[in-house]
Subunit: 133 residues, 6 copies
Amino acid sequence: MPTVRLLTDDELSTEARAVFDDIRATRRTDYVNDFWRALANDPVTLKRTWESIRQVMAPGALDPLVKEMLYVAVSIAHGCEYCVASHTASARAKGMTAEQHMELVAVVGMAAETNRLVTALQVPVDEVFRKPG
Amino acid sequence: MPTVRLLTDDELSTEARAVFDDIRATRRTDYVNDFWRALANDPVTLKRTWESIRQVMAPGALDPLVKEMLYVAVSIAHGCEYCVASHTASARAKGMTAEQHMELVAVVGMAAETNRLVTALQVPVDEVFRKPG
Amino acid sequence: MPTVRLLTDDELSTEARAVFDDIRATRRTDYVNDFWRALANDPVTLKRTWESIRQVMAPGALDPLVKEMLYVAVSIAHGCEYCVASHTASARAKGMTAEQHMELVAVVGMAAETNRLVTALQVPVDEVFRKPG
Amino acid sequence: MPTVRLLTDDELSTEARAVFDDIRATRRTDYVNDFWRALANDPVTLKRTWESIRQVMAPGALDPLVKEMLYVAVSIAHGCEYCVASHTASARAKGMTAEQHMELVAVVGMAAETNRLVTALQVPVDEVFRKPG
Amino acid sequence: MPTVRLLTDDELSTEARAVFDDIRATRRTDYVNDFWRALANDPVTLKRTWESIRQVMAPGALDPLVKEMLYVAVSIAHGCEYCVASHTASARAKGMTAEQHMELVAVVGMAAETNRLVTALQVPVDEVFRKPG
Amino acid sequence: MPTVRLLTDDELSTEARAVFDDIRATRRTDYVNDFWRALANDPVTLKRTWESIRQVMAPGALDPLVKEMLYVAVSIAHGCEYCVASHTASARAKGMTAEQHMELVAVVGMAAETNRLVTALQVPVDEVFRKPG
């Protein structure tokens, strides 16, 4: 149950409507998912978040599928069910195969395990890793 | 300061030594980082962890650099300093450029932000995302 | 589905009943929410937790609405759905407006993003910030 | 030890320099903290992050000190040492008293405790809390 | 809603079937819970995970009930609903009493509180605690 | 670097001094670790936290060493370095052997891994686990 109303198209402010138009044009679909309908209660945050995501997730030095898989990995680590579901769907839409998905999941699990082993053992960072790129 | 001793080569059990030999052969370097020297206090866990990592991080449907970047992303989300430092170094060794690194970091930050927005707004998962692969 | 039974008023121990009486008197409502009905399985923890919350959330140097909003922020960061729902409702009952709610949410999202950027980049604490209050 | 170089003023790109100028003008100080010097390796992310923070943290329905305290609370929950240190310092600069600081800390601790109690007991959300604002 | 299909016995690969046979034999029950049916989409990860769990959770220096309670504690801290439900059930099957359960829950809550207090106050580790075992 | 001053014995308020006296008497040592010296800035929180810990960690249905190990497990999952160091030391003082320590660490790592696998795969809770104790 959301803590705010999920706005229908008829309830959008002018500023929110402009963002929805851009989402639809960019994604080439009329469907706007409920995350944006919740954020539409605050058009300034809606606009900033959409523009930030569009910038961050655009093709660059990393290809969009890799970015989407990184997004899924972080969402798992943060325990966000909605985010895991929606970004796993997005990654599939961008070409992630079932095999790639299961490998991604295995890496996340492995990283979680060794992250906690390291914290438990309080291993100090090796000198050899201390070089800014 | 580690909560266990970081074992030197001279202090390894026979089973731990065999794992270290395999780490050195696989990585083609004599250097064994301190995570393994901490784990060496428990040769069974050392062996299981090393074999699991070798399996999970091997080339497969995802290439090793993508896997390493996923590892970095999860380590950031879990707040593990050692893991961020060591896997960022590993990703660089596998070819991650400075530009790719900064894009990875930006995606992790963006995912963290929207993960928390979704949790705050308690958005239920859209029907359209509810399809197992 | 709870992992323990949610006790009805009829099932309360004498000690738990006394805590429920105090909750009802303090909040001026007969309604006791299910968190307390779960905790009532352990009257000692029930009593300690209620008394601690009452002490911590009382008006002090911070006003109760600010405290309630801090509670919501932490609950989001910890990914606790029940806590986000119940403390968002409490904050509204204490006067949080829709606009204040969305600003709170935006701050939490922003903090999550920069928290992870800092961890990714492993920025050491500036000397200027190292002054105990 | 940062995973990227902390850029000095002499090393900034033109775009990064413009952001630093804006940080200095907005904050009325010549000092630019190391978070921004790390982000300056990616001028696009630097600019987006700075502009987002400036928007989110500006006076609005919540006053800037409340926002800063929310930022501290989230940073504690995420375990980000740099963020706790820098935003605690910022909150003090905006007027947070020692007494307010300790009350903030107590609320965060209390929320952490009940967040985990709720998760342990898997309490379902009461019907009465299920009302979008 | 799972992000992968939960495989029925008829859909298992030969390798996955062998793991299921081992789960059934080890646990002396025909019931295989859905975690394994999800993992069965990746027989290699299924096999590695099952064998790792069997090794880690076997009687050793710690008895199996203590291990199961540690598992519950970590699952609470990570906010994993499925894991809390299933491992709480397992702990009960291994003899955890209602009273032990509530004490476990209280310890987890208390640890969460002081963990966050320490992070908020950035207390440096006392010299006396800095001794590897 | 702490965000508050670590109070020396000479700087304690009367109320804080009484708590320190109780800590010393209960633990039968003159040494009071820095967590309490930080909390002493807020004598009310100091007193409440100490009394809560003493209650929660007392022998009960679970023995004190098991409770201490649960505390360590949660501290690892929350990534609190101070807490891992201090509670690992406490567990040793209560009799935790090196072998028990390494088994605890292995369980925490394993739980972290399967917690994240479950979240990634969004496995719904089996009907069989849905029984309050």
